[in-house]
Amino acid sequence: MFRRLELEEFDTSFSFEGRPVSAREGENLAAALLRAGITALRRTPRSGGARGPYCMMGVCFECLVTVDGEPNRQACLETVRGGMIVEPQAGAPEIGR
């Protein structure tokens, strides 16, 4: 559904739900996930419904993921770093654990 306008040349990769995703170092994390066909990044705390990037500018909080163990990161405000471990955000995170 999504693709880069220029030729796709990947120089790094990270993992999402344990599965490798090719990307460019420094590109937007939400954009990289969408391009890889991954649209459901989290499950809502209330209904468990799937949600994905919507506003792409930091205001809607629909694209929450866990990055390297830190929960509730907004994928649209994160930058891809090679080797980073991204997990979907399942419901609300626990605090203090």
Binding site: F61, A92, I95, G96
Partner: protein, 371 residues
Amino acid sequence: MSGPHKTGFAVVGGGIVGASVAYGLAARGESVTLFDEGDIAFRAARGNLGNVWVQGKGVGLPAYADLTRLAAKGWDDFARELGAESGLDLHFRRPGAFFFCFSEDELERRGKMLSDLEAGAMVPSGFEIMDNAGIRKLLPEVGPAVAGATFCSDDGTTNPFHLLRALVTVFERRGDYRPRHSVESVSPDGSGFRVRTPQGEWLSDRVILTAGLGNRELAPALNLSAPIRPVRGQILVTEKLKPFLRYGISFIRQSVEGGVIFGESSEEAGLDDRTTPQVIQATAKRAVAALPLLAGAQVVRSWAALRVMSPDGMPIYAESADYPGAFLVTVHSGVTLAPFHAGPLAAALSAGWLESSWQPFSSDRFRVPAS
């Protein structure tokens, strides 16, 4: 334009207070028009923390302590009935709440204040005094900076947005709800009143001013006194977190959705409803001192809202001596008192007058006697 519309009761102001009164009047079969300025209004109803709060209210005016206690105790039935009628969950919870004190001195003064209050009130509301170790047994997340707390099982929380929406939803079925109708003036007209809006005029038999800070402009034409002022509060909310806060804390609550909402500031800032970095920072520090694990939570929004405050902080319920049928209802605890406004107050307004037991709440108490 056609001639003026006619209504039994004109309720001017569609926040939680006005909506509660209008809901209560309509439930008693009255013909009611509710005028709501809309989202451009200051709307304390949309900015408040959502506490149903009893602890410490009514110092110097035992009648207010009793009023608060009866209203708060009525919240279970009120939330159940309004929830069923509206099909909305008000998120009312009453696990009891702490008021944290950060020094032994403060705890001692607080305990004495609550004891005196309890002695003067007719409606009982028990409380406990506990030290840090006592709190820890109920709330292991408490920070070491907290010296102790008072705890009251009558204190609870609700979702103020759901409350307002539920009141308006049910009211609309029986009454005439006028959103985006800003009332420019209310004046006596024959034995009734004339309400002017840009969309037309209404003639009403009675008029209830529930316009929050807007009452200041509207009251004088009815010879009512509304000596109220805005007092700003600033609030922060965190990302949604798994429920961990089992009890309320006076200035911190976790919503049913999971966001932790906290705020305790009081500032004289006129009609400026913006946040300031200094107060936001101080509020966050205080919340982390109370519950250190909050240091790991991300704040996602902050906002400010204006309390509608009388000189002694207590409600004004008054009828105009010169223009019978014109009433002023202004309080800063519209959430806690909602069951009372929809119940006994609406019943009194429906009957047409406030009997002598309401006298303690008249604005006469602010009149300085001429020497």
